[in-house]
Amino acid sequence: MHLEELAEKAAEFKAEDAHVEHEVRVCMAASCQSSGAAQVMDALDKAKGDGQPACKVKGVGCMGLCSAGPLVAVADKEADLAGSVLYRDVAPEDAADILGSVGGSPVERLRCPTDQPFFARQRKIVLENSGIIDPNSFKGYVAAGGYASLVQALSEMTPADVLREITASGLRGRGGGGYPTGLKWSTVAKMPGEQKYVICNADEGDPGAFMDRAVLESDPHRVLEGMAIAAYAVGASKAYIYVRAEYPLAVERLQNAIRKAKRAGFLGNKIADTQFSFEVEIRLGAGAFVCGEETALMASIEGLRGQPRPRPPYPAESGLWGCPTLINNVESFANIAPIVREGGDWFASIGTEKSKGTKVFALAGKIANTGLIEVPMGTTLRDIIEVIGGGIPDGKTFKAVQTGGPSGGCIPEAHLDMPVDYDSLKTLGTMMGSGGMIVMDETSSMVDVARYFMEFCMTESCGKCVPCRTGTYQMHGILDKLTKSQASRDDLALLEDLCEVVQATSLCGLGQTAPNPVLSTLRYFRQEYEEKLQGETGA
């Protein structure tokens, strides 16, 4: 198949909806569904009946502002979110009013302005289709230009060409570590061996992070397309998506997408009439955070206890069943199709010097606009929290923002003007992580937050290595004493010692980063620890 044929197909699919002028898009991602989006969709379908042929009620993916769900957008067919009329907190009873407004004046009482910074300040690459196309529709994805990058790669590029574009793009792993994607792909491509694997890490585990979930629920084909391009570039023919069992909707949509892509010939044997064959299988996680670590994840795919093993050898040399294996996370793969389409240089023109492109963040906690955003790398924390996030609700003041989940740290007010990228966050003692941002206000105790994360690491420690297994237990014990004002100054010193040992000696990333929330809160909020010391009153 050539690009022209695919373009014809896309035009054909578009033509099926030629009579449609307006779309009523209902967010059917997990968060809005929990607020009753399915009932809203039903009501809209019923109210519409066979009337209004030029109007189509369509389930779409995440529109970002999860706290205002269920969200419904009324748009001209080709319009994006900014160009649509958005309604918030929609109830089934509002169906008739919304349908009545199509092509006329908006329902003001439900309106959620789309010119507010939350929408206007975003730049969407990963989420470009999210909230616009129907994630269950293969045709919708193709009509929106989907699979063109795969076909382009297969028909017009050599694997080396693809590697060159990915390397030129400067894309770095979105799972948190920030390892250059081009370098990783090239390493796997260079490895000898008939059998290689591609793995998509969709075991999004950081508490407070739901970016990957939204991508999988909103635009599953894009992830498959990225994986297929990766497989072509590195010489793999088999892939696994390791996804959390706690994300049933994402799993369902992925299964549906795989089935349809296979039927259409974008997965399976001889894709797009080339010699390239590619199979994708879903593997369900079973409730183990440590399986986000790549070697533990591979153990889990192999049907074993999800325990990490020492690296090297890295998965690129010896991964799944000892074969060279490429592991990237959902968001990394979701960036691939646009990079191939627009070119590596285009991608590299977005973001900062060392962190290219955009990043999807999940805003949660004590912030007005809870939800999902995508901004260029280098956007300041202040912009994200105060402008896009709408600041702190209930008249409270900002205290800290936590990034990087249990491996990250808390950033105080003083550093809010830091542009967000991999390296700047590292200098602040935290990390990008997968993109969760939890905002805390003056009522949150930082010692308590540190204890919370340590408890998380303690229960998620796999138990293999001694420093992580016993160290997280001991650190948690001291933090617990601190929150109860029962700890002494010696305990605090011991806590700092343990942080150092666990960080330096643990086997995998979970243990090595488990002390980060403690260290960063000690760095910026030591006062709060001091105030908690037994028998001592705060300074």
Binding site: P310, P312, G463, V466, Q474
Partner: protein, 243 residues
């Protein structure tokens, strides 16, 4: 007896360990080279003849030019590598790790059948653990005496998985494994039922011999009487490997 043949394509590299100039095959790990050259490297999970586990983290060493410490058991030597095995920092970390092991379960050395012959006890002494700074976890564990020849005392287990590996890799029975996660981990036989009821145990006793502490012992031994003998392991491992 024919001399062992070095496999083709395996190069010899030169490296420095604690200022000693050494040469080694490039497929060797740091701990192997150290043991060949009588440079002490502490470890409780590594055992010559079993697969590498990398769990105790006592063999961490410093490598010049590398920010992170490396585990000697799972790091191969490279040309020009400079290794330090016993800096002040490493000693401090090892001491803390051993302390946390003592605090995790109930190692009452004075009344242990392995007293005087226990690798953890010896490790504690050599790391300068004269007391434990962290609080003891104080969780009681059961003792399984159901096997007619052997006994399992979870109170003295350090989860090194030597028993699991020897049973799987050398004996081939895979009677042992680990259940649970984190601090709740426990070694188990079959479906975590009493050892004496195991359908797969061949009573070969290899697990008992490789256990570094008094967790796996012979029935009928009393305090200080359990002496382990691991000389069979490299021999069996070699012969199994040769096949």
């Amino acid at each position: 007896m024919p001399l062992p043949v070095t496999p083709p394509n395996i190069r010899v590299v030169t490296l420095k360990i604690d200022d000693q100039d050494l040469s080694a095959r490039e497929d060797e790990t740091i701990i192997e080279v150290c043991r060949e050259n009588a440079i002490p490297i502490p470890s409780l999970c590594y055992l010559d003849g079993l697969s590498v586990w990398g769990g105790c983290r006592l063999c961490m060493v410093e490598i010049a030019g590398q920010g992170r410490l490396a585990a000697a058991c799972s790091t191969r030597v490279t040309e020009g590598m400079e290794v330090r095995t016993s800096t002040e920092r490493l000693q401090r970390y090892r001491r803390t790790i051993v302390e946390m092991l003592f605090a995790e379960r109930n190692h009452v050395c004075s009344v242990c059948v392995s007293n005087g012959h226990c690798e953890l006890q010896t490790m504690g002494q050599s790391c300068g653990v004269d007391h434990v700074r962290v609080p003891y976890r104080q969780t009681p564990y059961p003792v399984d005496s159901s096997h007619e020849m052997f006994r399992l005392d979870h109170n003295r287990c350090i989860l090194c998985t030597r028993c699991v590996r020897v049973c799987d890799e050398i004996e081939g029975a895979h009677t042992w494994d680990v259940m649970g996660r984190g601090s709740d981990c426990r070694v188990i036989t079959d479906l975590a039922l009493p050892w004496g009821e195991s359908e797969t145990c061949t009573s070969c006793g290899k697990c008992v011999q490789v256990c570094p502490t008094g967790a796996l012992v012979k029935q009928g031994t009393s305090a200080g009487e359990m002496v382990k003998d691991q000389h069979f392991l490299p021999i069996l491992a070699r012969r199994r490997h040769a096949r």
